[in-house]
Amino acid sequence: MGLIELAAAKALASSAVFLFITLLMMASAKRISTCIVLFSIQSAIMAAEILAIAYASKSIEAYAVASLVITVKVIAIPWLLFRIIKSLKASQDVAASTTGAQSVFIMAGLILLSFFAVAPYAKTLRLDEDLLAAAIALLLAGAFLMISRKKALMQVIGLLVLENGIFVAVLATTYSMPLVIEIGIFFDLLMGVFLMGLFVFRIRDTFEHLDVSKLRRLRG
């Protein structure tokens, strides 16, 4: 194994740690814009991983996927979300139902939990344990953000983090799916965020607030 391949492998192994750091920071973030930036950084870490894989395996498909991640997740979606925030002119508070300290504590617990969850699979299938744990942690963290933050935009961000988790799971297990499928998934993601943005505006116009915990007309 050459030196560069070794470096790429090392980067891949340590990237899980960076992902955990973004999660902990997201838990303590108080403003929506901070979370968007953190999401962008998270996606950039993923892109770096894919680039490392692409370099090591000399696969053109992996380069294509990396460029998709960079254009869609690192640039397009955060830009779209920032545009929405700007034209909403609403308060930037994430409206958390747990305090900052509690959130960080819960997030740390979720990260630990994900290590326990993947241990049996990582051993039998000989997969990278850290990265697989990062994938599960992202899934859980996304779900946690969605249920503990009341702002509609934070639910979108929670969903994006959850989706990142699935993406990291692909990286940790099979490196990549067939390219056509990846492109389709990215297209769906982009359209989904676009539509959710549309609904955020509609919620603001019809309800005059963005607190989804107050959307409770339809029950039973």
Binding site: P120, Y121, T124, L125, L139, A143, M146, A152, Q155, L159, L162, E163, I166, A169, V170, T173, T174, M177, P178, V180, I181, G184, I185, F187, D188, M191, G192, L195, M196, L198, F199, R202, I203, T206, F207, V212, L215, R217, L218, G220
Partner: protein, 485 residues
């Protein structure tokens, strides 16, 4: 080539109809495109019958199961399009809520659902199921009222999260296939996976994990309890033709995805695991939905819970396994589609005349709207599962299979739930039909000939399927069963 045509017609129609500024022209375009699409479906079904499997390129494929579900979407599309002619009187001319937007989004929705049926690849299947959510979310929020926006948002978020779990399940299955030596480039293709399924036993834990995620993910979209929270809201707030589409086609569409995965899982690790999971979801859905139907106050929400109950019955049928139960389950999806469309159509007329769907405020319907009431009685008896309508036959098949395999607990639970549902429907419907007629808030609009046509066709379908299953239809069902074997 006939497969490409199936996709091309609705997609182009969605674009063309947007250019029609006059609503009369939009209706004309939509109806003729609908007729074209139904002809394309008939053509594809004919070719599937003679060739067996149609394949176009690597990503489009149609077999017997596809043909059965295409028939379902064709029938309901025809009914919904004809019904919409009368329904369009409701639609106010807003910026995005005009007839042309309605038709454009509807055809986009149909396009994504047909794409689900034609996917040869499980990854593409996921992409298409997710697109159905995206295409229909705007339709659910079409009226832009508080309720509609809330329902649309909930639908979008809940289903996208659910479907994300299904993606995770798909990846787990992909991993299992790749680890067992299937070529990564084709490890998501349905045909390749079916061939390789028996050799996947080494990774049985991973396949179980994958099926749990798939059942939760696509189960969200089917409306299994406890992931059903989006379903009553979306059905109640969507325009009525779309409620019928959601209930009669979309739920079946998600069920189709689950059936594909269930077949692969059964081939790989035996049917015990996946079928017991389906039985659990089915029993939960049937029991909870039946009880919730008793306390409903809104007519369309009542119908939505009834859809959850019927999807539960179908899940039980699939979970029981064996040719009789599976035949019953597939037949039930079709019967339920027709009966539920009829019920939603009558609910639309009720809304039009009484300006409300609160069942407490509706009285004396039998005298005020005799024909609508007749439709509602037929539909109500049908969805309660009584003879002489089709749902009785299919429920009876599933029950027979349950007793035949000595699953007494499930059989008794199913019978109890069906009785509760019957009681709930009787209670709600007779309260609306009987009593002193209320003063109608608006002048009574006359039923159009098209309205009579759709209600009549639904009733005829239900009675014919309740008396005798035509040979051609039974053949379509049999060739669908061959795929699932």
């Amino acid at each position: 080539m006939s497969l490409v045509l199936l996709l091309l017609v609705p997609f182009l129609t969605a674009l063309i109809v947007l250019t029609c500024k006059q609503s009369r022209r939009a209706v004309a375009v939509a109806i003729s495109a609908g007729a074209l699409e139904i002809a394309a479906i008939a053509n594809a079904m004919w070719r599937i019958r003679s060739v067996g499997v149609l394949q176009f390129g690597r990503y489009l494929r149609a077999d017997g199961l596809t043909a059965f579900f295409l028939l379902n979407i064709g029938v309901i599309l025809a009914l919904v399009l004809v019904y919409s002619v009368g329904y369009l009187r409701h639609i106010p001319l807003g910026r995005f809520s005009s007839p042309r937007w309605f038709y454009s989004l509807t055809f986009l929705f149909v396009f994504t659902m047909i794409a689900v049926y034609l996917s040869a690849n499980l990854g593409m299947l996921w992409i298409c199921v997710e697109s159905t959510t995206l295409a229909s979310a705007l339709l659910v929020g079409f009226y832009n009222t508080k309720g509609a926006v809330e329902a649309g948002w909930k639908y979008l978020v809940v289903c996208t999260v659910g479907i994300a779990f299904a993606l995770f399940g798909t990846i787990a299955l992909y991993l299992a296939a790749v680890k067992s030596g299937v070529d990564p480039a084709s490890a998501l293709d349905w045909a390749v996976l079916m061939n390789a399924a028996p050799s996947l036993t080494a990774t049985s834990n991973l396949i179980k994990l994958s099926f749990v995620f798939i059942a939760v993910g696509y189960g969200t979209k089917i409306g299994f309890v406890p992931m059903h929270s989006w379903l009553p809201d979306a059905h109640a707030e969507a325009p009525t033709p779309i409620s019928a589409m959601l209930s009669a086609v979309l739920l079946n569409c998600a069920l189709y995805a689950l059936l594909r995965f269930d077949t692969i899982t059964s081939h790989a690790i035996g049917s015990g695991f996946s079928h017991s999971l389906l039985l659990i979801f089915g029993c939960l859905s049937v029991a909870v939905a039946a009880l919730l139907m008793v306390v409903q106050r809104d007519l369309k929400r009542l119908l939505a819970y009834s859809s959850i109950e019927h999807m539960g019955i179908v899940a039980i049928g699939v979970g029981l396994g064996g040719p009789l139960a599976l035949f019953g389950a597939l037949l039930h999806t079709f019967n339920h589609s027709v009966a539920k469309s009829l019920m939603f159509f009558t609910a639309g007329y009720v809304r039009e005349n009484f300006s409300t769907l609160r069942m407490r405020r509706i009285h004396g319907m039998a005298r005020l709207l005799p024909w609508t009431s007749a439709g509602m009685v037929v539909g109500g008896i049908a969805i309660a599962g009584l003879p002489p309508f089709g749902l009785f036959i299919s429920e009876f098949m599933i029950l027979t299979a349950a007793f035949g395999t000595s699953r007494y607990f499930i059989a008794i639970l199913l019978m109890l739930a069906i009785s509760v549902v019957f009681g709930a429907l009787l209670h709600h419907v007779q309260r609306m039909l009987a009593g002193k007629p209320v003063d109608l808030p608006v002048a009574k609009p006359k039923l159009l000939p098209t309205d009579f046509a759709v209600m009549g066709v639904c009733a005829v379908f239900l009675i014919v399927l309740g008396v005798h299953i035509p040979g051609a239809f039974a053949n379509i069902l049999q060739s669908a069963l061959v795929v699932l074997k």
